[in-house]
Amino acid sequence: MSAEPVPARPPRPHRDPWYVRWLLVGLTFGIVGVLIVVPLVSVFAQATAKGLGTYWSNLVSNPDTRHAVFLTLMVAPVAVALNVVGGIAAAWAIARFRFPGRSVLITLIDLPFSVSPVVAGLVFVLIFGLQTPLGVWLRDNGYQVIFAPPALVLATAFVTFPFVARELIPVLEAVGPEEELAARSLGASGWQLFWRITVPNIKWGLLYGVILCNARAMGEFGAVYVVSGRIEGETDTMPLRVQKLWEGSDNPAAFALASVLTLLALVTLVLKVLIEPKVRAEQTAPNPPAQVPE
């Protein structure tokens, strides 16, 4: 018995024996090291294996690679923007109201996560391909959908749809409708309510969803592969370009471009770690319950 003040609760029996602790922590370092750290280091090592000069020229001197970067920077934001609008609409209806079929809608939002990206691409080929009347009609009227940027956007939006809505539903539910109801009773219009109350209340959750959605959109391979037709310098996005360089046995160039994608992923993760506490604050700081007017 020591003279020190008694702790509020007895020492946790978490104190596993030292050899268990060392073994498990060692295994953790081993697992994360082999699965994740070694591959990350290897990407940059192989990208810069022939020197930084070659690395840079691999990135900027090839017009097809430059176009792939440009295309990814065009396609991903459009797909993300579509999903932000769709996600906010779905989250608003689901978090604020009760209606028949609500739980079905929640399940449907998750659907794209469990569909293979290849199947996601295939469905758009089946609709817009030149073997269909619609595809022929579109071509005759000068609209190229499949093997062109519109199909890239559609396939990317399909695969990344759940991110924004999934992130927003719990945040909206936690924030609660009280402030919005108050604004409404003071005569705010729908838009005022949305921009002045809802958006500021959910901004971190929204940003979080956008960041995750964007990371997946920029990195999407399977779905985009199917609908792109893989036309060099036209419909190759960055991940598709990586594969083409690799198939052409131009490993340093493939890894150079892969290193850019890896950097984007790491930036995403840093932003994620920075934003997470703010999202959690939004989720766990509900307003005092108010009377819901009937």
Partner: protein, 275 residues
């Protein structure tokens, strides 16, 4: 949880729900229905001839097998990592915690590319396997390895919160009642973790079943050996055999729907367990 607001109290129910349903229908539901319609245009015999050939069956079996093995490996790895992250303090813990999410953010093509280069005979990791007579790249083992990578975060992230919420009092009570450390682990901790670990397992499995981007780099894509089902869809598509591609895709979609239902059920059950 709020019980929902009267539709007259707040605006935007009609436009929000309407837009969400229209968007979901145009982007997801109608395209998926188009796939089913295309596959149904074949008729039962032709459908079987397209989607149930020996080549297709071996592709399903491989896809399912490698995804299953990878998901099982991930349950073990994920529980070890989640356990260390929740219950111990060690230097670099926050970095490790953040690194767990890398597979969610890293494009699958990059994962496939770098795994293929790591596990070839002369690669950083393949050189250690080569003397043991293990060929990792361009084999089934390679597919499992890259699927372990892509599915890694799921079990960690489902088990972590449950382990953190696990009340120390249960363990204390067990200890006071005379349970040994091992008994406490088996009788108190493991049963609490099982639903969460199962959810993570199902998520990793679902991810593995559909995975294409990373596998295409590390697999040799040989028929009957290392050809996964999504690859077969593409092969049919490149032959302009649209209905046959849709038929194989329909079987894949069937797997997805079953798993999605299972995941929904598990998530609801584990939520009840925690809450």
């Amino acid at each position: 949880m709020s019980a929902g607001v009267s539709r007259r109290a707040l605006p935007g129910f009609g436009i929000g729900l309407g837009y969400a349903i229209a968007y979901l229908a145009l982007l997801v539901l109608i395209p998926l229905a188009a796939c089913l319609v295309k596959a149904a245009s074949l008729g039962p015999d032709e459908f079987l001839a397209a989607a149930w050939t020996p080549r297709a069956r071996s592709a399903y079996a491989l896809t399912f097998g490698v995804s299953l093995v990878a998901a099982l490996v991930n349950v073990v790895l994920g529980c070890v990592v989640a356990w260390s992250l929740v219950r111990y303090e060690f230097p670099g813990k926050r970095v490790i915690d953040a690194l767990v999410d890398v597979p969610l953010a890293l494009p699958t093509a990059v994962a496939g590319l770098v795994y293929a280069s790591l596990y070839v005979k002369t690669g950083w990791l393949g050189q250690f396997l080569e003397p043991l007579g293990i060929q990792a790249a361009y084999s089934r083992l390679g597919i499992v390895l890259v699927l372990v990578f892509t599915g890694f975060p799921f079990v960690v992230r489902t088990v972590q919160p449950v382990l953190a919420d696990l009340d120390a009092e249960f363990e204390e009570a067990a200890a006071v009642l005379g349970a040994s450390r091992w008994q406490t682990f088996r009788r108190v901790i493991v049963p609490t973790l099982v639903p969460a670990a199962l959810t993570g397992f199902a998520l990793a499995l679902a991810r593995g079943l559909g995975e294409y981007g990373s596998v295409v780099f590390i697999s040799s894509n040989k028929i009957f050996e290392t050809e996964i089902a999504p690859m077969l869809v593409l092969v049919r598509l490149e032959e302009y055999a649209y209905a046959e591609a849709a038929a194989v895709a329909t079987v894949l979609l069937g797997f997805s729907f079953v798993l999605l239902a299972a995941i929904n059920y598990l998530e609801r059950r584990s939520k009840r367990h925690v809450g």
